[in-house]
Point group: C2
Chain length 352, copies 2
Amino acid sequence: MSVTIKDVAKKAGVSPSTVSRVLSNNSRISKETSQKVRDIMDELGYHPNIMAKSLVSKTTQSICVILPKPAEELFMNMFFMELIRGIVTQANRSGYDVLISSGANEQEEVEAVSRLLNGKRVDGAILLYSRKDDKVVDFLQNNNHPFVLVGRSPKYPDLLSVDNDNVQAAYDATQHLINLGHQRIGFVSGPPSHIVSRDRLEGYTRAMEDSNLSMSKDWIVEGEFLQESGYRAMSFFMNLPERPTALLVVDDLVSLGVLRGLHELGYKVPQDLCLVSFNNIAIAELSTPPISSVDIGIYNLGYTASQALIQSVTHVGENQFQKRHIIPHRLVIRESSIFSPTKSEVNTRMNI
Amino acid sequence: MSVTIKDVAKKAGVSPSTVSRVLSNNSRISKETSQKVRDIMDELGYHPNIMAKSLVSKTTQSICVILPKPAEELFMNMFFMELIRGIVTQANRSGYDVLISSGANEQEEVEAVSRLLNGKRVDGAILLYSRKDDKVVDFLQNNNHPFVLVGRSPKYPDLLSVDNDNVQAAYDATQHLINLGHQRIGFVSGPPSHIVSRDRLEGYTRAMEDSNLSMSKDWIVEGEFLQESGYRAMSFFMNLPERPTALLVVDDLVSLGVLRGLHELGYKVPQDLCLVSFNNIAIAELSTPPISSVDIGIYNLGYTASQALIQSVTHVGENQFQKRHIIPHRLVIRESSIFSPTKSEVNTRMNI
DNA sequence: CCTCCATGTGGAACCGTTTGCGTAAACAAT
DNA sequence: ATTGTTTACGCAAACGGTTCCACATGGAGG
């Protein structure tokens, strides 16, 4: 049997209400009483029961985050851990706890979220928006539960969301390659159903157009967010009569596939082909050679998502705060796009 | 205002107790009443308030897992996500929720855990045991809260724990190299403060001894669980008058460093040096060449940890169940240790 | 016909907090 | 001396459930 507020009250010779008021030290309690109660609390090892507190306060001081389905596991592992770290750090700083949930399929996800939100176990949810259509989003909207999307959705334009400016990110990355003298730049995209693929493609296209560089359909291939897609894209590009001299790749993992393919065929990066990709997950730095990548601030995405959500649950009703949060990106240049002077080889990249 | 058990009771023309009994369908409620109540619940969209339930039942149906400090972030990202996935999946299957917590330092970790466990927000904790000394472990033990360790600890031998047989794992990996004909096998270890380094070193040593292969101190170098350590170890080994022909590496990330170093110096893997490492995180498969690695079943570690913890909190007092769970490992052989026939190069590995 | 037991349900206490309202005491102002 | 105001605290209801106990009903057994 653990020690309750009543035990403290009794031992201190006051009422439970007084102890409660000491706990939330905003009320008018005399210095002496307050100190005495605090001493007793320490002595007895009192810890307020969070469940009881949230029963009456009608707030749980916790949020949940929905893990995507196992199918997307591989792609998401590094990404998601970083995101969670950001979320948990921010949430804890605001005195909130974070609950992780998942479901084997969309239906299970909805059930899990329903149990958590409707059952008043959490105050709000963070979810990764991936597909164009999402039953979880629909559910949360219909029951108007507070939630925030990581990513953006054309279907739900004015939801609370945290995202990058992927168009600009792709523009910047492409511009980087153009500045290096490249004119024939290919783009390895993801599935067109993902908005992020489309945004990055758009940024790429704009940058090419702005520099009056020609593009053909051959310069653009679509795939999944998987290594194999990169491998296939690579062999497609390298078999072209006019090969590109640089590639913009939608995700680091895909880049890894490109890299492996090139390695197998005996091509060198960046000498034979330059590479820039997106997301800057750990493997970008760790691969051989390290991959230039647009850092999208995953931790920051999580941190900001948590912040936005908690703000919206604590100030429910007030509608004046920002809906869309754009996290800044930053191009991290590594060996895959720039010839490294530490290696004593002939730089042939400019002879294109 | 959400719908409560009383609303359901009133509308159904029964008492709250009856509704409660319908919810936990074990009591003696007539078929018709039960059905009627269920219908009303659906109609009203009733969801039991989890907080209220756990206030009286004194069980929260949730556990927490403590993230290690940011310092270990890099090493842990992929590992931890996989672990969490295992934990969450199992927990959800058992009707439990999982709460993620972290702290900037050990003191903060203790405070977080104290708040969660003493505040009765969670029923138990899962934690990664890393160092030889751990305030969190001490805290949990002293307040005898249910918890399970992922990893093993020589200081606390008979705690509830989930772990691999790292000695055997290293033995198997070494034996694999020996079977391939290697005689000069080096070992790149982690920090000796980590029990996992010591265990794997022991397995390596035993295997070498069992095959009557000579070892010198030069064959064993210690480092961190970082890429740089691998890089340094590589240059140490390659400068030796008598180089090893194969390396056993304590972690995939370290292997990546070795690989990069070899690549820079123009050496080929596995032709010039064979590599086997541990953990089999995603990068092992994705690197060039793919790294042979001992899969330690990270998901399974998490899954089992959750299972063990939940079992121990639901059957508290009963002391008869298993304390130490050993998760099986499995050597995954890839190109880094075996010459791949798909590549048309001369196999020089056996000419050692 | 009376008792007994099984079955189905209601009443009320309780879980550990918070909080609105009430009040006693002390002091200031009239 | 009476009234008003402030300060410090207690009482009790509420939050939304669960569960022990009581009670009514209806057959079965004697």
